[in-house]
């Protein structure tokens, strides 16, 4: 409930500059796709990063100045929770695509199910997953093996699950005012996150070089890279956020009761973790 003390941010140049940076980045990327120069997108990325940095710096400054009360905090919490919900929906669309092709489209192309007449066009195609033969393999990079659940993916599962544990240990440290435990466990979490990303990149290199599994390997390669790639991007973003939080923790920004910045990042980290479990189950195992 409003109590008259609600902090309303003063005018700020950073949102509009952030918008400019984002637009420049994307427009530059569009130009790049059609043979344009790299300059606009790099410029856009720099503007975007600087503006976001200034924006967050202002928020942290206001917070440290004690301008935020419990109600402002609640706004931030609700905002973050709904933002994560929007991310869930994004992954929902990607998972939905995977379920659709696996359960409907590929069986139809193989002659099974209600729309199996499609098989007339692809008489040699057999419904199987992962797809090692496409309906028209000659147009694609045909992989010699699918990505299995053992090896790197299993290790990565362990890495991410333990990072969920370490971020919680950091949280406990924060609540106990044990700053060393907080910083230490945060650092471990970051290292685990970095390990995950490095292993994932290694796995991609392996898939491209040895398995011949590429973005151009039909719907299996498409769904595999889009789902794991988007997740990997989110992990990378999470690592950056954790690093910022580590810096703030070292500066003593958090108290056992007031540490929304930390909580927001840890929610995000747990969200990334849960998405990975879904990936491991449906992309690697199923």
């Amino acid at each position: 409930m409003a109590n008259g003390r609600y902090f309303v941010a003063p005018p700020s140049p950073w949102p509009v500059v952030t918008a400019l940076g984002l637009a420049l980045l994307l427009a530059g990327f569009g130009l790049l796709l059609h043979g344009g120069s790299l300059v606009p997108s790099i410029l856009g990325a720099i503007v975007l990063l600087l503006a976001v940095q200034r924006w967050f710096a202002a928020v942290i400054r206001e917070n440290q100045a004690g301008l935020y009360d419990a109600q402002v905090n609640r706004s931030f919490r609700l905002g973050m929770a709904w933002f994560i919900f929007s991310e869930v929906m994004l992954f929902g669309a990607l998972f939905g695509a995977l379920f659709y092709v696996r359960e409907l489209a590929v069986p139809w192309l193989g002659g099974e199910g209600a729309k199996g007449a499609a098989h007339l066009l692809w008489p040699h195609f057999v419904n199987h997953w992962p797809l090692l033969e496409m309906p028209r393999s000659s147009d694609f990079d045909v992989p010699n093996a699918a990505m299995g659940p053992v090896g790197i993916p299993a290790i990565n599962t362990a890495v991410l699950l333990s990072s969920a544990l370490t971020v919680t240990l950091a949280h406990w440290g924060l609540k106990r005012k044990a700053r060393r435990a907080l910083a230490g466990w945060l650092l471990v979490t970051i290292l685990l996150g970095v390990t995950f990303v490095v292993l994932q990149l290694h796995e991609y290199a392996h898939a491209y070089r040895e398995l011949g599994l590429t973005l151009h390997s039909g719907i299996y390669g498409s769904t595999f890279y889009l789902l794991t790639g988007f997740h990997g991007l989110h992990v990378s973003l999470g690592v950056i956020m954790l690093s910022v939080i580590l810096g703030r923790a070292l500066k003593g920004h958090f108290t056992p009761t007031e540490h929304f910045g930390f909580e927001a990042v840890s929610w995000y980290w747990h969200f990334v973790d849960v998405i990975w479990l879904g990936l491991y189950l449906f992309v690697y195992w199923w």
Binding site: M1, A2, N3, G4, R5, Y6, V8, A9, P10, P11, S12, P15, V16, T18, A19, L20, A23, L26, A27, F29, G30, L33, W55, L67, Q71, R74, S75, F76, L78, G79, W82, F83, F85, S86, M89, L90, G92, A93, L94, G96, A97, Y100, V101, A105, L109, A114, K115, A118, L121, W122, M134, P135, R136, F140, H216, G218, I219, G221, S222, L226
Partner: protein
């Protein structure tokens, strides 16, 4: 005013002046104004595209443009009107009104609010830049079905995809802000169930936005990957399916339809009681009906795809769920009608627009029920019957709701009464021409005219000529609206705090024009109660 309340004021008093004021603003009223002015300009931009379409269709044969340019017009008209005119206008109304109606000092996240707005002009630039590109603006329809938009799309499609991403971020951030404001910043004593209907409908709309927009971003990204990075989401040769695009697109697209209409429902639910001088009939059932519509909107998407050859069980499922939506929609119309019943009606401009909304949205709703009937839809689908339907729900629905809202709240925003005589002219010219434009399209569709064609067989000529005359007249009538707004901004009879004597709600307890900061102290519980849902009784 307690000492602590100085905090927001202090920050605000250093408000920047000049052009930077509008770029940097964190004030919900200024951002609301930006949204509304931006959407007004986009409404005219999209309108010019519509005029060009109607000019080409005035008679058979190609007179003005090549077919591909016609396809670009159709595509850009749809994208502009939906993402840059209707949606920003609704968010603009939310920005102005929600804090005023719930007694909040501002939106919960003011800088995010500024960001949400300023993303839009950049998205518009990206989207419209296509007209300057080698193969022209996007031309695969606003639904950009694959593979027409992927393998066969012009380069501008990439910029359209990025524009969609930016507009999506803008919408999601705007929606989160609205949800948080409503859940966290209500005046003491205002229970959720007692919130004004406009706030309720926006809460549910915002939920749908957070749910649907990321899905659009997902499908647009897949299209981008199919275009440039060798994936085959929508290509059967690699095991994908062009229908996958449509499923994901419409999973976004159908909630999107309700995103555009629910806030208009809210506006109408504010206006009808005011000018009937009677409380809204069945207030609680209205809220349940809106919630039910929102819930069902995510399980009806494939009714846009009845002609694609879905398995029969899927066709049956989506037919039943779609028909079911008619029940809560009917409840809303019945409730409005019952609100009018034995009221004490007057017919100022907001009321006229609201009444025509009920009449004409009902026409669009009923043709929607016809479209739900799958075997009949095999005939209606992708014809002008559908074009008529969507324009009855989006023009005489959403747009009329927005115009009604502007007339209703303009005195509050500017402090001046608008010119009622001119507003009545604006209404009657628009109401007649809009029907002249869209009603004949029902017949053209039933007679067999497909949509999105630049030229047509002779038996459709009469319908199209009438539609074109109506369309141009409707477009020109809107210049009156523009003039009226300018006139009201510049001056006029003082409006007073409560220009409509039948109006209730916290916004009317404030002076007109509104001071720069409102509800620096929250309204008292007594005020909240007095202006609440039981005010009329």
């Amino acid at each position: 005013m307690s000492e602590a309340t100085i905090i927001p004021i202090k920050g605000r008093n250093k408000a920047v002046r000049g052009w930077r004021r509008w770029l940097f603003t964190t004030d919900h009223k200024e951002i609301g104004t930006l949204y509304l002015l931006f959407s007004l300009s986009m409404f005219f931009a999209g309108g010019i595209l519509a005029m060009l379409i109607r000019a080409e269709l005035f008679q058979p044969g190609l007179q003005l443009m090549q077919p591909l340019f016609y396809n670009s017009l159709v595509t850009m008209h749809g994208l502009t009107m939906i993402f840059l005119a209707i949606m920003p206008a609704l968010v603009g109304l939310a920005n102005w009104q929600i804090p005023l109606m719930i007694g909040a000092p501002d939106m919960a996240l003011p800088r995010v609010n500024n960001w949400s707005f300023w993303l839009l002009p950049f998205a518009a630039l990206l989207l419209w830049s296509g007209f300057l590109m080698p193969q022209g603006a996007p031309n695969a329809g606003w639904t950009f079905y694959a593979p027409l938009s992927t393998t066969y799309g012009p380069p501008s499609i990439d910029f359209m995809i990025f524009a969609i991403h930016i507009m999506g971020i803008s919408s999601v951030m705007g929606a989160i802000n609205i949800i948080v404001t409503i859940l966290n910043l209500r005046a003491p004593g205002m229970k959720l169930i007692d919130m004004p209907l406009f706030v309720w409908t926006w809460l549910i709309t915002a939920f749908l936005l957070v749910l649907a927009m990321p899905v659009l971003a997902g499908v647009a990204t897949m299209a981008l990957f199919d275009r440039h990075f060798g994936t085959s989401f929508f290509a059967a040769a690699g095991g994908g399916d062009p229908l996958l695009f449509q499923h994901i697109f419409w999973f976004f697209g159908h909630p999107e339809v309700y995103i555009m209409i629910l806030p208009a429902f809210g506006v109408i639910s504010e206006i009808i009681p005011t000018f009937s001088r009677k409380p809204l009939f069945g207030r609680t059932s209205m809220i349940y009906a809106v919630s039910a519509i929102a819930f069902m909107s995510v399980i009806v998407w494939a009714h846009h795809m009845f002609a694609v050859g879905l398995p029969v069980t899927a066709q049956l499922f989506f037919m039943y769920t779609t028909m079911l939506i008619a029940v809560p929609t009917g409840i809303k119309v019945f409730n409005w009608t019952a609100t009018l019943w034995r009221g004490s009606l007057t017919f100022e401009a907001p009321m006229l627009w609201a009444l025509s909304f009920i009449f004409l949205f009902t026409v669009g709703g009923l043709s929607g029920l016809m479209l739900a009937d799958v075997p009949a839809d095999y005939q209606y689908h992708d014809t002008y019957f559908v074009v008529a339907h969507i324009h009855y729900v989006l023009v005489t629905g959403s747009l009329f709701g927005i115009i009604a809202a502007v007339y209703y709240w303009l005195p509050k925003w500017t402090g001046h009464r608008y010119n009622e005589r001119l507003a009545q002219w604006h209404f009657w010219l628009s109401a007649i021409s809009v029907n002249l434009t869209f009603f004949p399209m029902h017949f053209a569709g039933l007679a067999g005219m497909p949509r999105r064609i630049p030229d047509y067989a002779l038996q459709f000529a009469d319908f199209n000529a009438i539609s074109s005359i109506g369309g141009i007249a409707f477009g020109l009538s809107q210049l009156l609206f523009l003039w009226l707004i300018i006139q009201t901004l510049r001056g006029g009879e003082p409006a007073g705090a409560r220009p409509w004597e039948g109006a209730h709600g916290l916004e009317w307890t404030l002076p007109s024009p509104l001071p720069h900061h409102t509800f620096t102290t929250p309204p008292s519980a007594e005020t909240v109660h007095a202006e609440g849902p039981h005010a009329h009784g």
